[in-house]
């Protein structure tokens, strides 16, 4: 069977039985593609023989815009890439520029950044869980997950004024001091959350139908995942214990104890379990951090006008979706020469083809959901 990978309509090939291959377009407008993703499926009856992703429907030229904004001006733009986990985007960018400038955020800022980023990880995973379950047909977890996510967004709103595109961090530290009652809010959320995660697990983890829909679906081996460059829960569920928070710690992660969950088979079920456990570990980090916020300044002395020295830096963090990296080239002026974002969703999306081969059409929504992509990040 010929395997053409052109961007035009591939030639319709003959399958084993002599029937024509069917090309099904899962168009940019679709309830389950989590954004404007277009997937062309090549099918032999019900089985998928190949996929082709067409992206770019949400391309906004963010990296080009970066070349014409000063470093602080560009910070709000990064929130809009992975709009589900804006705080992580901001953390990666601010830390990358700080690395470029040789500055370091003070300890208090680092710990508060850690807390907010872990809360954002929980929020991102909650949204993933709700939408993934909804795609597979479980109508109720979505509402439960959004109920918890609401609590986190309330904390963000109290802290920096915004729920979704937060721009919570500044280059050099934080702009806002934590508000009165911040620790209590975080502690209360973490205490409630333990039961809630168990609640979601009760609904799904040992549910027969959930197991049948997710076990053995969308398998990718660790070798293939590494070859693609997949990171985050996708590669951890395939067995590789790789987490940038442990391998190359940033912010305050080296001060706290947490585990890295991994899976065995690399199927959808393992990715589900890995993300559920990650939520619990994030809660653990938050509880440790919120009791140990050091006092002190929240902003390093970086000056009003940021002019990093000539040079380049690549700094990556463990975003909820995977390794989010910023490669910034500075030419000594107030505006970067080039900002290149390593988007985890874009690179993880390459695994779709591999995972979808041999699956049935109804599994595609499960596979797209399990990759946890956000088109804002895929397209930028």
């Amino acid at each position: 069977m010929a395997d053409t990978r052109t961007t035009d309509f591939p030639n319709v090939t003959q399958t084993v039985l002599g029937a024509d291959e069917l090309i099904l377009n899962m168009g940019p407008q679709h309830p389950s593609t989590h954004g404007v993703l277009r997937v062309k499926l090549r099918m032999d009856g019900e089985r998928i023989t190949g996929t082709e992703c067409i992206i770019g429907y949400l391309h906004r030229g963010v990296e080009k815009i970066a070349e014409h904004r000063s470093y602080p001006q560009f910070a709000p733009y990064v929130d809009r890439m992975d709009y589900v986990a804006a705080v992580s985007n901001g953390l990666g960018y601010c830390e990358a520029v700080e690395k470029l400038m040789g500055a370091e955020a003070p300890p208090r800022a680092r710990v508060v950044r850690t807390i907010l980023t872990e809360l954002q990880r929980i929020a991102s995973h909650l949204l993933w869980l709700g939408t993934h379950a909804l795609d597979i047909g479980a109508l109720t977890p979505l509402f439960y997950c959004f109920r918890e996510r609401e609590e986190i967004l309330k904390i963000f709103e109290k802290y920096c004024g915004a729920r979704l595109t937060t721009h919570a961090f500044r280059i050099g530290g934080l702009l806002y001091e934590t508000y009165d009652g911040f620790e209590e809010d975080v502690k209360r959320f973490c205490n409630d959350f333990a039961n809630r995660v168990d609640e979601y697990e009760t609904l799904l983890t040992s549910n027969r139908i959930w197991l049948e829909r997710t076990k053995g679906v969308g398998i990718i081996s660790a070798a293939d995942a590494i070859a693609i460059g997949a990171t985050g829960p996708v590669v951890r569920a395939s067995g590789l214990k790789w987490d940038i928070r442990k391998a190359m710690p940033y912010a305050a992660y080296d001060q706290f104890e947490f585990d890295i969950p991994t899976g065995k088979t690399g199927d959808t079920y393992d990715r589900y379990l890995v993300r559920m456990e990650e939520m619990r570990q994030s809660r653990r980090i938050c509880l440790q951090a919120v009791d140990n916020i050091p006092t002190g300044p929240i902003m390093a002395k970086v000056g009003k006008v940021l002019k990093p020295p000539v040079g380049e830096v690549y700094h990556s963090i463990e975003a909820p979706k995977g390794e989010l990296g910023y490669y910034i080239v500075s030419d000594g002026t107030t505006q970067p020469y080039r900002v290149r974002v390593r988007p985890p969703s874009f690179i993880n999306l390459q695994a779709l083809d591999q995972m979808a081969r041999g699956c049935l059409v109804a599994d595609i929504v499960a596979i797209i959901g399990t990759l946890d992509i956000v088109l804002g990040e895929v397209d930028r």
């Binding site: 099904l24 899962m26 309830p31 389950s32 019900e46 379950a133 909804l134 795609d135 597979i136 047909g137 479980a138 109508l139 109720t140 979505l142 509402f143 439960y144 109920r147 609904l203 799904l204 549910n207 139908i209 959930w210 049948e212 829909r213 076990k215 053995g216 679906v217 398998i219 990718i220 081996s221 070798a223 293939d224 070859a227 690399g266 199927d267 591999q354 081969r357 041999g358 049935l360 059409v361 109804a362 599994d363 595609i364 929504v365």
Partner: protein, 447 residues
């Protein structure tokens, strides 16, 4: 002319007509309120409130939805087969509603007293499949056709399993007549005196699962799910035509719930009908209805606008009237020569029948909002590899148990208990067999 008049003034001839009129008139409204009930229950399970705006607590939502659907533009696809396109929803709804002819809502409350009632219900409700397939074909839409074929395949497969489960209850009662089936569960002289669900729980379980699949409800709703690629046989239908399909689906749900009530849950009998200790449950209907009515009137005081107060007044009033009607037979009044207590089986029977149907529907909805959706091949495997073999074994086990009961003078309960054990063992065996499949592995990489 005189002969006609003479014919229609006899109760056995005009009562069915009245029942038919009541059902045809009331059912759409009832289905609308079942939809509201589903939305409120869905909301409750999802930690939210549901419709609250249209009328107090959303009580006028079904009327608003009906009006909206009626005034929508009627779109017929250009290349569609017009006649068949118009006919398909009518077939579905006719099949669903005709089945009500054989359902007894109470002693004597039946449109058509047939001695093959169950067979009639199964046969007529199976005609609904024509509606599905014709709708998919007539839509001239590739995906509608696929969805329709899938839906039809699913309904047919689970119809077999449901029918076999029905056979079990028929065996226990020895009759196909719906009225006799209920009487077999109520009376201790001619029947067992307690519900068949206690004698044949496996058959009940099979019937529940099969009925969920037959009405295309989650977790078996792949043919009509929104997040799948195939959009379903109802796609090209808009406005009033779609509401006919919708009505057919909910009417079928109520039929299936009524069938389960008749076959396994004792029809119109009160729980523990033959035990004097539980006679206090006779007061449950007026207490429940009256309490609900009084609560409506209480909420009336909290409504801000006058028309909302009116709506609550109407609902509360209806509930209180029903409560009074249900309480009447308990009072022991004498109206002339008629003793009011004689009406108790009829009125209370109606209440308990409706209560059981509502409980079954609640269970349907509970399942819908808890479980994810089965993939189509998994769905078919469940039906053919598990449910049908188990229900076949169940029939043989129950029949064997009945023979032992009759010839060896073993108690019926004991015989049925062992029959259930045999069926459960077979169920475990078939479940294990159905689970075996080649382990999934990663596709060889091509890098």
């Amino acid at each position: 002319m005189d002969a006609l008049l003479h014919y229609f003034t006899q109760p056995q001839n005009y009562l069915p007509l009245i029942f038919i009129l009541v059902i045809v008139a009331v059912l759409p409204l009832l289905a609308g309120y079942v939809v509201l009930m589903e939305r409120k229950i869905m909301a409750d399970m999802q930690a939210r409130l549901g419709p609250m705006r249209v009328g107090p607590h959303g009580l006028l939502q079904p009327l608003a939805d009906a009006v909206k659907l009626l005034i929508k533009e009627d779109i017929i696809p250009e290349e569609a087969d017009k006649v068949v396109f118009l006919l398909a929803p009518l077939i579905s709804v006719t099949a669903a509603m005709t089945a009500y002819a054989a359902i007894p809502f109470g002693p004597g409350f039946q449109i058509a007293e047939m001695n093959i009632g169950i067979l009639f219900i199964l046969a007529v409700s199976s005609m609904g499949i024509f509606g599905i397939v014709l709708a998919g074909w007539a839509s001239n839409n590739h995906y509608s056709l696929l969805g329709a074929l899938r839906g039809a395949a699913q309904v047919v497969s689970y119809e077999v399993a449901a029918g076999l489960a029905v056979v079990t209850a028929v065996l226990l009662a020895g009759t196909l007549s719906t009225r006799q089936l209920v009487m077999a569960q109520i009376s201790e002289q001619t029947g067992t005196g307690y519900w068949f669900i206690f004698l044949a729980p496996v058959a009940f379980f099979i019937f529940v699962v099969a009925s969920v699949a037959e009405t295309n409800r989650a977790p078996f709703d792949l043919p009509e799910a929104e997040s799948e690629l195939v959009a379903g046989y109802m796609t090209e239908y808009s406005g009033f035509r779609w509401s006919i399909f919708f009505l057919a689906e909910y009417a079928a749900m109520i039929v299936v719930a009524s069938l389960a009530t008749i076959l396994f849950l004792g029809g119109w009998s009160r729980p523990f009908a033959n035990t004097r200790v539980f006679d206090f449950m006779d007061y449950a209907p007026p207490v429940l209805l009256g309490g609900f009515g009084l609560y409506c009137l209480y909420r009336l005081l909290k409504q801000p606008a006058a028309w909302q107060k009116l709506v609550m007044l109407i609902f509360g009033g209806i509930l209180l009237l029903l409560a009074a009607a249900v309480a009447l037979p308990l009072t022991g009044l004498q109206l002339g020569s008629v003793s009011v207590a004689g009406w108790k089986p009829a009125i209370h029977g109606g209440f308990w029948f409706v209560a059981k149907v509502v409980a079954y529907l609640y269970f349907f909805m509970w399942i819908r909002f808890t479980f994810p959706r089965y993939r189509f091949d998994q769905l078919m495997r469940l039906g053919w590899h598990f449910l049908i073999p188990v229900s076949l074994v169940n029939i043989f086990a129950v029949a064997g148990g009945l023979i032992i009961h009759r010839q060896q003078q073993v108690g019926l309960e004991v015989a049925m208990f062992f029959a259930t054990l045999v069926t459960l063992a077979a169920a475990l065996l078939f479940a294990w067999l159905a689970e075996r499949r080649p382990p999934a592995h990663a596709v060889e990489n091509e890098f």
